[in-house]
C-alpha cells in the first residue's frame, strides 16, 4: 500500500518509491532515480509525475523541474515504444557511428529526436554510452547492441518491430 493515496504509478513502482524515500540520509537523494523510474513507467516524466514526486519528497514542483531539465536521459514528452539511441562520439564515429545514424534515419524515415508515425520507434543521436570498445554501439531503451553494421542494425530493428527485442528495465 503506497504512502501516497491514488498514486499514478504502478503498484510496484509506488512501492519502490515508498522505500526509496526512506533509504537515504536526506530524502531528496531519491529524486534522480525516482524521475528515471517514473519515466520507465509512463514513457516520460509527466506533469502528474512531477507533482507526485514533489509531494513524496517534500519538494516544490519547481525544484523537481529544475533537476529534471538538467539530465539528458529525462524527457517531458512521450517517445516511441523503442527509443533508438545511436552513439556518434569519437570511438563509435571511427567505426561507423555516423553511417549507422544515417542508415537509421533512412530506414525509419525520421530524424534526430523524431518518432515514427506508428509510434514504434524514436531516433536519437547520443553522446558516449560507454561501449567504446564494441563500437559502433546503439542503445534501444536500456538494451545495448554492439559492433553493429547497417545490416545488423536492420536485424535489431526487425527484432523489436516483431516483438522479439529485449526490454531491459
Amino acid at each position: 500500500m503506497s504512502t501516497i493515496p491514488n498514486s499514478i504509478f504502478t503498484p510496484a513502482t509506488a512501492a519502490r518509491f515508498d522505500k526509496l524515500a526512506t533509504i537515504y540520509p536526506v530524502k531528496r537523494s531519491a529524486l534522480v532515480p525516482m524521475l528515471l523510474y517514473a519515466q520507465d513507467d509512463l514513457g516520460y516524466v509527466s506533469d502528474a509525475a512531477i507533482s507526485e514526486i514533489a509531494k513524496r519528497l517534500d519538494l516544490l514542483e519547481l525544484d523537481v523541474r529544475n533537476v529534471l531539465s538538467y539530465y539528458s536521459m529525462l524527457r517531458t514528452a512521450p517517445v516511441g515504444k523503442y527509443n533508438v539511441q545511436v552513439c556518434t562520439n569519437i570511438s563509435c564515429m571511427l567505426r561507423g557511428g555516423f553511417e549507422l545514424l544515417d542508415h537509421c534515419k533512412k530506414t525509419l524515415h525520421i530524424g534526430h529526436k523524431e518518432t515514427t508515425a506508428d509510434g514504434m520507434f524514436s531516433l536519437e543521436e547520443v553522446e558516449c554510452i560507454g561501449a567504446c570498445c564494441w563500437a559502433p554501439a546503439v542503445q534501444v531503451n536500456y538494451d545495448f547492441h554492439e559492433d553493429l553494421t547497417p545490416a545488423k542494425m536492420d536485424a535489431v530493428l526487425a527484432d523489436y518491430r516483431e516483438g522479439r527485442g529485449k526490454d531491459v528495465k
Binding site: 540520509p25 536526506v26 534522480v32 567505426r95
Partner: protein, 444 residues
C-alpha cells in the same frame, strides 16, 4: 554483450575473475572473495591505509591521485557521518572499463567499498552508476542483496560485534559532468550536477556535509586484491610511483579493440600493435587520443611512451581514464576536433562562464570551418579561446574541452590550413545537427 578479450601480455589483477561467473556470490567467495575485507577487519584502519599507500595505487578515474593518501586525509573524528562514494558514472568518451568491471565482478567493487569504509571509519557506502548502465545497476543491486543475505553487509558484518556497513546503489540520468566528484555529490543529493568550489575537499566536507572518500570504481575494486597480495607486491607490478596494473580500453581503428589489463608503464606502442593487434585493415597510424577524449592527442611518432601517469605527463598528455582511442590515416583531424568539442559543448553544465561560452564559441567556429566557411584567423581564435578556458573553471570540464582542442590545432595546424585550401574530406561525417539543439545557422 561486450566481448571479452585476452592477450598473453596482460597481468590480470582486477580482471582476474572476468568471465568466471563471479557475479554469483558463491563463485566470488570460491575465488578468494570477501577474504580481504575480513583481513581488513582484523588488522584495522591504520594497516589498511598503510598497505594502500605501499601499493602505489593512483586514482583510475583519470586524476591519478594516490589512493592511500586520499584515504588518510579523512579526519579520524567527525561529528557528521563519514561516507564512501564509488564513482561509476563512467562517461569520458573512449572509456568503458568500469562497464566490464560491473558486468563481471560487481562483488569486488562492493568488497572494496567496505574496505574503504573500514579504513576511514564510515558505515555507509554509495555506488553511483551512470543512468545508461541500467542492466549493470541490476547486476550490482543483486550482488548487494546477496551480500546482505550472507551477513556481509548490514549490522555486525561477518559476525563481528559493532562492525556495521551498508551499501546504497544509485543511478544517474545522463550527464557527463556528474563524473566530476563534487558534481556527483550534488547529483546524489538530488540536485543539478554542478560542481562545488574546492576547498573544502570532499575528505573534509563531502556528501551531506560529511567527510567523504570518493573513488573510481576500478580504484575501489583494486583494494581487496592489494590487501590479499600485499601493497608492496602490488606496487612491483607497475612502474616507479605508479603501482600495479590498470584496465585499458583500446578502441577506434585497431584490429582487436577491447578492455585489457596491462601493467602500469607498459609501452603504448605495444598496447596498440601487439595487444590490440595493430591498425585495422593494414592502414597507417595517424594519431592516438591516449586516455579518453579530454587528453591531448599524440602523433604517430609520439607513441613510444610508457603508459603511466608520470611518463604520459612528460610526453605532454595524460593517462586519464585509460581509454586509448586510435585514429588511422583516413581520419580528418578537423572533423575529429569538431566531434570532440561538440561533446564538451553539449555537456558543459553552464555553471562557469569560460567553459559555457568557450566550448560554444569553439564549436561554432569549428562547425563553420568544417562546413567550408573558415579562414586562417579562425585557427588562432580557436587556440586563443581554448587557452583562455584553461584553469578558469570550478571543475576540470573546461580544461577537458580546452586540452584536446589545443592539441589538435597545435599538432595538426598544417592540416587545418590545408583544409582551408580545399583539401577537405570528401564525405563529411558530421552534418550540422548538433545534439540537443536546432541546426546552427551557418557563419556569424
Amino acid at each position: 554483450m561486450p566481448t571479452l578479450v585476452s592477450h598473453p601480455d596482460e597481468v590480470k589483477v582486477v580482471s582476474r575473475r572476468f568471465g568466471m561467473g563471479a557475479t554469483d556470490i558463491d563463485k566470488y567467495i570460491e575465488l578468494d572473495g570477501y577474504k580481504a575485507v575480513q583481513k581488513a577487519i582484523e588488522n584495522g584502519p591504520e594497516w589498511i591505509v598503510n598497505e594502500m599507500k605501499a601499493s602505489g595505487l593512483r586514482g583510475r578515474g583519470g586524476a591519478g591521485f594516490p589512493t592511500g593518501m586520499k584515504w588518510s586525509f579523512v579526519p579520524k573524528v567527525s561529528e557528521k557521518p563519514k561516507y564512501v562514494l564509488v564513482n561509476g558514472d563512467e562517461s569520458e568518451p573512449g572509456t568503458c572499463k568500469d562497464h566490464v568491471l560491473f558486468l563481471h565482478d560487481p562483488h569486488s567493487v562492493i568488497e572494496g567499498t567496505m574496505i574503504a569504509g573500514l579504513a576511514i571509519g564510515s558505515k555507509v557506502g554509495f555506488i553511483y552508476l551512470r543512468g545508461e548502465y541500467r542492466y549493470l545497476l541490476k547486476i550490482v543491486e543483486k550482488a548487494v542483496a546477496d551480500a546482505y543475505a550472507k551477513g556481509y553487509l548490514g549490522k555486525n558484518i561477518f559476525g563481528k560485534e559493532g562492525v556495521d556497513f551498508d551499501i546504497i546503489t544509485q543511478t544517474g540520468a545522463g550527464a557527463y559532468e556528474v563524473g566530476e566528484e563534487s558534481a556527483l555529490m550534488e547529483s546524489l543529493e538530488g540536485k543539478r550536477g554542478v560542481p562545488r568550489i574546492k576547498p573544502p575537499f570532499p575528505a573534509v566536507v563531502g556528501l551531506y556535509g560529511g567527510p567523504t572518500v570518493i573513488n573510481n570504481a576500478e580504484t575501489i575494486a583494486n583494494a581487496p586484491h592489494i590487501l590479499l597480495m600485499g601493497g608492496e607486491a602490488y606496487a612491483k607490478l607497475g612502474s616507479e610511483r605508479n603501482g600495479g596494473t590498470r584496465l585499458f580500453g583500446i578502441s577506434g581503428h585497431v584490429e582487436r579493440p577491447g578492455v585489457y589489463e596491462l601493467p602500469m608503464g607498459y609501452s603504448m606502442r605495444d598496447a596498440i600493435y601487439k595487444v590490440a593487434g595493430g591498425i585495422k585493415d593494414g592502414k597507417k597510424l595517424k594519431a592516438v587520443v591516449p586516455g579518453g577524449s579530454s587528453c591531448p592527442v599524440l602523433k604517430a611518432d609520439e607513441i613510444d611512451v610508457g603508459l603511466d601517469f608520470d611518463q604520459m605527463a612528460k610526453a605532454g598528455t595524460m593517462l586519464g581514464s585509460g581509454g586509448i582511442v586510435v585514429l588511422d590515416e583516413s581520419v580528418s583531424i578537423v572533423e575529429f576536433a569538431l566531434r570532440t568539442i561538440r561533446f564538451y559543448q553539449h555537456e558543459s553544465c553552464g555553471w562557469c562562464i569560460p567553459c559555457r561560452e568557450g566550448t560554444d564559441w569553439i564549436k561554432k567556429t569549428l562547425t563553420r570551418f568544417h562546413a567550408g566557411g573558415g579562414n586562417k584567423k579562425d585557427i588562432d581564435n580557436i587556440q586563443y579561446l581554448a587557452e583562455n578556458m584553461m584553469g578558469r573553471t570550478f571543475c576540470p570540464l573546461g580544461d577537458a574541452a580546452a586540452m584536446p582542442t589545443l592539441g589538435f590545432v597545435k599538432k595538426f595546424r598544417s592540416e587545418f590550413e590545408e583544409y582551408l585550401e580545399g583539401k577537405r574530406v570528401e564525405h563529411p561525417l558530421i552534418q550540422i545537427t548538433p545534439i540537443g539543439e536546432p541546426a546552427l545557422a551557418g557563419a556569424h
